[in-house]
Amino acid sequence: MGGDRCGKGLRVLVVEDEVLIALELECLLDDLGHTTIGVAASSREAIALGQADPPDVALVDVHLVDGPTGVEVGRTLSADPRTTVVFMTANAKRVPDDYAGAFGIIAKPYTERVVASVLHYLCERRAGRTGDRPGPELSLDGFNLAPRARA
């Protein structure tokens, strides 16, 4: 899966309060050729980290140490055009209809393939090697594209 790396990869902020999930996600991102620039477990931390050094992509869980505050984190971070937010949650119903500005939702429990495909697409898009609207490569079980990102 790490086979077709996309340039230098993406700079990713992981917003996740389960340490084990965060740690394993970091390893996976590394395998896929991306760089984890930080891990945040609370909304305050996440927003501080994301605003101090805007990442290419923020992978945001909805339930954080301080409650279901991930939605607000997503909304705040996606206000910066440099950052694309992708929710990663076992509770997609918590995400509002407008996806709070996010690109999509990766459902937990996720497969590595879904994480890899979504990040690969975003990486290619940043490099200008793909259209603005994702095609069938993102029609994956376990991934929901935000309505405004659809073709």
């Binding site: 740690l23 394993e24 339930h63 509770n91 937990k108 429990p109 079980d141």
Partner: protein, 364 residues
Amino acid sequence: MKIENDAHASDFPLDGNVLLGAFASSPTPMALVDARQPDQPIVWVNDAFTQQTGYGRHEVVGRNCRMLQGPDSDRAEVARIRAAIAAGQPCEVELFNYRKDGTRFWNAMTINPVRNAEGVVTHFYSAQADMTEKQRLEQAMRNANDELERLVDLRTADLSAALEQKTALLHEVDHRVKNNLQVISSLILLKARRTPEGEARDALQGIAERVGALSTAHRMLYSAGDATRFNLQDFAADLLSDLNAGLDPERTHLEGAFDPIAVSAAMAAPLALMIHELTTNALRHAFPGDRAGRVTIEARRQAEALHITIGDDGVGLGSAAPNPAGFGRSLVEMVVRQLRGAIAWHENAPGTRVEIRIPLGSED
């Protein structure tokens, strides 16, 4: 009581006084109105009528029947009486009338024209019944129905609240299960990453894949509308594209043909585990070295049973490297037993073919 022209009392061998006596002492309130006098006054009433209305005989004779009407008498019913009388037609009405003391009662009346030998209407005959008690019972019945309705609404609201609570709880549990599956999967993969390459790491990765299959089944179970059914076709499509993504397309290929089969939720995890195991087993063992080949997996529904066939054109059971642990195979056999099914392993020449039959309950 309708008196036709050809049915005059004189046709019967009766003295007119007998008939009058019978009417006078009848418990049914009766009145006779003269149709030909101005304002059609009452000319005769029986005792039951005076008892019903509280008026004495002399207080009513010579007056029009409208004397019994009052503020609550239905205008439409009154108009019906007037129209029937003007047309010389019989009619039945039910309305509030008033007694002498001002109290009201439900009066059900049948009014019939009485004709003479020439067919001219000479009188109207009215028989009445006090329906107050019947109306009271009907009202009581309506009140009782309203009360029942209210109680049913109340109970329905209780049930809706309970259902809402149950749904919220289900979502909460679902969320926790998914999260825990993710933690378990991450835990195993983390340990695998820190384990030197070799048997132990392979085993950990194998377990992580199995947890992944269970996770996919669980994710599909609760993301669809009906949490009690599991769509095998969707699961297989996801599993196959997942596995195909890890294959060298030049060398091995995985194909599936699944009928749209929905099974009960309880079967989701064992079926997911079994299909995952058989498929990965075939991919792992059928093509040693650089051997190329194809794995096909089919699921059909026939006569209340699920038939799953997994075939490959690899080296076959006999030639495969001996696998003392044989965990995959015994896992499959355990799951088949759990689902009360049957499994048969065949040499396919070339390759292996596994046939499984799982009974589906009649509700499936």
